[in-house]
Subunit: 469 residues, 2 copies
């Protein structure tokens, strides 16, 4: 050992690990004490750290001390009870510990053989979710965990491109997404080689849902022009307002023209763990692919996104590649419909895959489905309550009726007043809200989602909003 | 709290966290006791777990117990001292604790404002590495962490495609990779919309390095045919043999034809922390992009890959998208050459980005550069030693002289004998080695890389190999 003074042996790891856990526990206990949004200016964090890497190892205690000195003041605290910006990116105790153990195991899930338990637990947990969320039976055995919705959407686009003829026909392919679609759809299409000029933005209803009649019209027009409509991107729970696109109608249109239909339910997907919210799943039996992010509302820390296909063939055809050094004599060949050995490197862009299913398994086992339902129901109820407060205050107007746990509203005096309200709340340090633009009007977004948020925090936010108005 | 029995509060997290750390410490202490390769058959892991998610929360102790009962027997132990397969995917104590704290913070690095410290620490650590590895100064301020080499390579291809005219010209673009290139290059090109028919496989020298003269010939031929050569993928340290492509010559050819040249040093990149191995970096001053994986040989657990560009403009042009709900009034606009605020969501496919720089920072500070050098030097010296043992044994022949820490060799009696040797070693449970094919001959690969491997493990492997021969 003398020649390796810096090797952290298991006993040293145990000691330092307890220190690190204590640090996190103390952080969680103080979550309500930090300004939600970082107060630093550009370069402030970096300026407090050395310009060069150390030549010799430093003491772990000094590293932990720098977390308090430099890192915490430079963070926007996504887990804080007053975090209402964007969509939530929840973490939770069991998820953090699942991530710890995954890192400690250092397992690798590129192929079944590189870690059978990595692959099989992923298959199992994703099948659990098919049942728990009331998703179509065709998704069973056809799910994969990716790092985020951008990756899942890209996979859907690549599978769709393959089904429509592959890269050789790319030059005449066209795609259709809502005006309200998340920008990852446009980005994925661009990555896949589709120029922006062949991406159609479909108009929405007053509720910001994609119009199926406009979709049909645009597809027919393109077909008459000799183009090849290949991809329709729908959303359940848009980022701006959690609008729900009419999936049954969109799927009917898409299937009539042999276009792939993909559904992004990144945020809203978790909600269908509650039977009373399962109407959100209408039409999913007819779609080709679907995703949602447990790292948003299912208490699982970033990153963990779940992607399902109804039929895996085109996904594998688009992404599988054989390489001799990765093969081995023992893995059974992947047979059509054989759910037993799957090599997940062929299911998305990434080859290296850490053991992400572990934290999702920890979360589901710790909370149970009833615990997850209670988590969703609190937030949905509070959003309804906040929306009622907003509606009853003559200085505010609701932009839409909340679908789930996002409340969108404005100051009746216009953009300047709305921005003043937002700045007042955000500068308070007690809460952070974000905004969007709807019909050219600045609209405030309050997304309720932290497991650390209690009802009194919501009341505090409302007090701040009223004071600012 | 009565209504939320499953909420893990900070004190409960502390208690469960200590349990989880102890579990990992015990695992690390037992690393040498497990069969390296999982002994389970398809479905064995899954069959030992319930078919449906629990309705009510379970005790954390029961979850930990299932790790021992179900998960460990189903794992291939990548951190085991006898793991010599593939390339290493190292973890280490400080890295695991960095991952733990990253998960505990639940921070989000999509944009500078969503977590200034997430972005600035990433910039800082990647700049540290530019100096520590002797990389070109142009890479300073131009690095980004991705999940793996597949993602970085895809980013390089997208930037190259943008520089060559974008998706509209894709129909006549051609790309060039070595016969020995990692399959992520072909996969990335396919994702980006290039059909396999326009990907040229360039022949290699007897040392398995890409031939610059063949590259020039193929490019000229394609240009004469009206095609648009846009991307050359080179490798420093190929997967099969750690061959080093002649980057100076390849870069000269590529630049003469305005093709982007990207270098994949996924495994080998870490080595240049040692000045005596920095000759591997020859020619990098002339390349457009470069990547290596700290999650391979730099003691940082999966996933952590580092991608650099010499000029960020085409990368951002290919990947940046504006979205109103993501913008805010406070972030300074990204100005050309302004390193102060960077929105990393625009630097790769992913939008959601966890705080990966933290674990890399923990590793570098814990080991110091001298510690990282010692880690690399042990493995390089041992590979040389093992190669000498192999060369001196008349039953074996070296396939190539080791460049770094990978030893490639065969049984002189041919494929069947080589396979028998490999199976004997792998079935012993004490070690795991993988293989590749070189000149149609089965070739065994011993990749030394675990921080838990000691010299006596290498001697044990050699005893196993000799007994099998």
């Amino acid at each position: 050992m003398a020649e390796r003074p810096d090797h952290m042996d298991p006993e040293e790891f145990r000691r330092r690990g307890h220190q690190a856990v204590d640090w996190v526990a103390d952080y969680l206990a103080r979550l309500d004490d930090f300004p939600v949004m970082a107060g630093v200016g550009p370069g402030d964090v970096r300026d407090r750290l050395p310009d060069a890497a150390p030549e010799y190892g430093e003491d772990f205690t000094d590293v932990l001390a720098d977390l308090d000195r430099v890192i915490l003041p430079g963070l926007t605290h996504w887990q804080a009870p007053g975090m209402y910006g964007y969509f939530p990116a929840n973490s939770s105790g069991p998820s953090v510990l699942g991530e710890l153990i995954s890192a400690g195991l250092g397992a690798h899930g590129a192929m079944w053989t590189t870690g059978p338990a990595v692959t099989e637990l992923e298959q199992l947990v994703l099948d659990w979710l098919v049942a728990a969320l009331g998703l179509p039976p065709a998704f069973r055995g056809n799910g994969v965990i990716t790092d985020g919705a951008s990756s899942g959407t890209l996979c859907a686009i690549l599978a769709a491109r393959d089904r429509a003829g592959g890269a050789d026909d790319l030059g005449r392919m066209t795609a259709y997404v809502s005006e309200q679609a998340h920008y990852s759809m446009a980005k994925g299409l661009r990555v896949a080689g589709l120029p922006d000029s062949r991406v159609r933005r479909i108009a929405t209803t007053p509720d910001y849902a994609m119009r199926a009649d406009h979709l049909a019209y645009e597809i027919v027009k393109d077909r008459n022009d000799g183009l090849l409509p290949f991809f329709v991107g729908a959303t359940i729970g848009t980022t701006s307002t959690t609008a729900v696109d009419p999936v049954p109608e969109l799927a009917w249109v898409a299937s009539n023209f042999d276009a792939w239909i993909h559904v992004d339910a990144a945020f809203a997907g978790t909600a269908s763990v509650c039977p009373e919210l399962r109407h959100l799943n209408a039409g999913l039996d007819e779609v080709d692919s679907y995703l949602f992010n447990p790292h948003k509302w299912m208490l699982t820390n970033l990153d963990c996104s779940v992607f399902y296909v109804a039929d895996r063939r085109h996904l594998l055809n688009a992404l599988a590649t054989e390489a001799e050094y990765l093969s081995d004599g023992t893995a059974a060949a992947l047979a059509e419909g054989d759910h037993e050995t799957v090599d997940y490197r062929d299911w998305s862009v990434a080859l290296g895959r850490r053991f992400r299913a572990l934290k999702l398994w920890f979360v589901i086992r710790h909370y149970g489905l009833e615990g997850l339902r209670a988590h969703v129901r609190r937030h949905v109820a509070w959003a309804k309550e906040l929306a009622e407060w907003v509606a009853a205050d003559h200085r505010f107007e609701l932009a839409v009726t909340p679908v789930l746990s996002l409340v969108c509203f404005r100051h009746v005096d216009g953009d300047e007043a709305s921005r003043r309200v937002m700045d007042h709340v955000n500068n308070s340090g007690r809460a952070f809200i974000s905004h969007t633009t709807l019909e050219d009007r600045l609209t405030l977004r309050v997304a309720i989602g932290s497991p650390h948020t209690e009802h009194h925090h919501l009341q505090e936010l409302w007090t701040l909003l009223r004071a600012a108005a």
